[in-house]
Assembly symmetry: C2
Homo-oligomer: 486 residues x 2
Amino acid sequence: MRVQANGVAPNPCEGVRKSINPELWHACAGPLVTLPPVGTYVLYFPQGHSEQVAASMQKDADAHIPNYPNLPSKLICLLHNVTLHADAETDEVYAQMTLQPVNTYDKDALLASDLALKSNKPQMEFFCKTLTASDTSTHGGFSVPRRAAEKIFPPLDFLLQPPAQELVARDLHDNAWTFRHIFRGQPKRHLLTTGWSLFVSGKRLFAGDSVLFIRDEKSQLLLGIRRANRQPTNISSSVLSSDSMHIGILAAAAHASANHSPFTIFYNPRASPSEFVIPLAKYNKAVYSQQITLGMRFRMMFETEESGTRRYMGTITGISDIDPVRWKNSQWRNLQVGWDESSAGERRNRVSIWEIEPVVTPFFICPPPFFRSTRPRQLGMPDEERTIPWLGEEIGINDPQSQNGVIPGLSLVQWMNMQQNPRLTNSTMQPDYMRSLTGPVLQNIPSTDLSRQLGLQAQILQQNNLQFNAPGPPQQTQHPDQHPKL
Amino acid sequence: MRVQANGVAPNPCEGVRKSINPELWHACAGPLVTLPPVGTYVLYFPQGHSEQVAASMQKDADAHIPNYPNLPSKLICLLHNVTLHADAETDEVYAQMTLQPVNTYDKDALLASDLALKSNKPQMEFFCKTLTASDTSTHGGFSVPRRAAEKIFPPLDFLLQPPAQELVARDLHDNAWTFRHIFRGQPKRHLLTTGWSLFVSGKRLFAGDSVLFIRDEKSQLLLGIRRANRQPTNISSSVLSSDSMHIGILAAAAHASANHSPFTIFYNPRASPSEFVIPLAKYNKAVYSQQITLGMRFRMMFETEESGTRRYMGTITGISDIDPVRWKNSQWRNLQVGWDESSAGERRNRVSIWEIEPVVTPFFICPPPFFRSTRPRQLGMPDEERTIPWLGEEIGINDPQSQNGVIPGLSLVQWMNMQQNPRLTNSTMQPDYMRSLTGPVLQNIPSTDLSRQLGLQAQILQQNNLQFNAPGPPQQTQHPDQHPKL
DNA sequence: ATGTCGGCGCCCCGCCGACAA
DNA sequence: TTGTCGGCGGGGCGCCGACAT
């Protein structure tokens, strides 16, 4: 009988998938990874998806790949299904999502999409340690950081000499690993001894990889791993060529977009920083609460070595398409940025608008005056289809009757209500500066410019759920360049 | 520093691909695997390609996949490039091929395609052994079959007591493995001792897997492995959904077909019995030297346990499309077959015509009389495009002027000549029975029917390079049903 | 001819505190 | 507080022929 090296026979029934513990999955995925809830609206960026595959294949999409002119750079989708997975060999976490491009909107789903933005997952008790050479050598066991042991492990009976106990922790595949936890040495320290080397060899861990322990609500120990950034496993290259993979992504999305049929993608949060499925509400909030200008200052979250988070400050240095040929006017990483700290060599020099947070200066906290757009919205073309304007024109949902503009901070449900009650949409304003967001170049404005005030205003408007809309006859509106200083 | 379990540091330079030894690759691929030569014409079957991926993913293509109505079930391609590969982790062999769909033909390439059919790769000296429990346990070494050791290994110095030597063998990645080869025990036998367990654990071999040794022309030892049929590694599922993979295959092929642009595929000979790139000459010979009928007897090659070949006899029990919706009138495994031996449970019940050999009864070896079709060829439809008739109508190369039929045994170069010199094509006959090959149902003929004679005739005609062609006025031809018995 | 096992030597895995960073 | 190392004891890796098939 075939037995694995660790003595555990392989699962005889491949079809049965045990459900993965969501807390453990998220702990392994890292603090920055959030998955949109099922039943909400999301934006799918095929460009980002392609990027993830390129990272996995260590090969970019090249010129052989056909263009899909009818495939927009982003698709509004209803998220039908999310299942969590972990690679059977590497324990690499990934999620499978079923998306369906939509052109009509369900009110409950819109509401759910709004509410999901506010939900915060509770912090759980866990610790994460990067393995040292001693931890992974065959010479000894695992040195447990003291705070971690005291926070996560069951308390030791210190009447014993030495204090010791047996720990059982389950991994993502629900395999149990047992360790001897002992408190000894001079000075005293927590160690995992017996059982540890089996774990290291079974998971094929090396110095630099990380291990994390979680105590779940039932005080059960869970155990996950995070591998150091190693070469992308281009193992899948033996199945499908890189070109075919990229084509598959684009063709599948194009087919689903044309037919409004569901399609399935895999999101691998640690393979590459390509979060290509974005909650619609998050996108909307980001796009319409921030005025993006060259030179603008922002903050952005990054993951620390020990699975914490910290913010880095940066400046927007340019706004341009990554791929002007294939993905023109895409918002996928169209912001070129520089970072304040010189040690920022590893941080990306391109980000998307929903990844960054505006820098709010306390000086500007007082509410700004209500403002109106000075420029009338251009009257719609004939034969336009129903649109959600703040998603750009390529989404393909246009409404010839109601030339709605949507304003910063307008919630999805409010927007939906307006769609159903067109009379409410009259005599409201069009925040014209928003149009500049989709433009390829924004005017350069001094760092003390007014755009940040506008961003602040938009946030405040959102808090108050103010509604205003376009179009109608030319109205008195406030162009950002003309906004009065406070 | 990260070091693999076997103490060998991973290759620091992933970009440098050492060329794989072709002999070793073919030995690992098995005796039935032949790759078409570069520069020849091949047929590419997207359906078979999709099948291979489905086998790798353990999931068939399902209904979500769009139809590509403009993608024929087979594409004539020029084979631009073939590179041999082996998976870095599993040593699984696969080949990368660059194909370009064509509609014009280069004479040299046609000639090469013809000649390639006749070339036989020389047999090399190698042995293959399926590992036993003792071979893979940590308790001992590897028991070398006596004949294998005497044929492959350098001769031992039997003056030593015991006779022993150090062997060095290189694997597909050009890694060297050293073994102590000793002749000892009672009774005496050849054993590999020191070094063997490192190899077993390094390659993660288990009982049931096979190992093979080759001695190349420079008397260097080469070492390969073949894993037992284990669960398909659906590891790639963490990158791309099964649907997207299938779509990628079809869309890539459709794009290449429409633009006559090159595309790249991976052929994994041991993942599944899906040989979906077929030399054009092999296809042509198979299709036009055999009359396929229900009840027809045939032989087919299979690989034996020890990497030999043997033929099994079978009977054609049906002719039908595997997938009448997606791939109508495809020749991909359109023959349903039964096998003579009851132990045939593992053999496929569907094969393609180029996989089988006709059963030639010695009684019929004497040359049959020349025959002519009694039925006139149906005059061509208007607006037909230029075609290669023996490829069916969906290939899309039609010639309204010359309603050429092509006859059994007509070489590609000869056919090409006819295309360039239409006058040569006059006053020749159309073997009308060939048309039945593309029909979904063939008439059932008693097992002593005449079709086998016709198949034989076709072979002989091919050997003599006889030419005859259609159309012209109805001619005196011999229909197979009316062929006189010998 | 070759698969499996008992015997057993020795290597190295793995537990210990020392010591230093 | 915790990473690394020398010390060292014992489990199991791995080499041997016996024996069976």
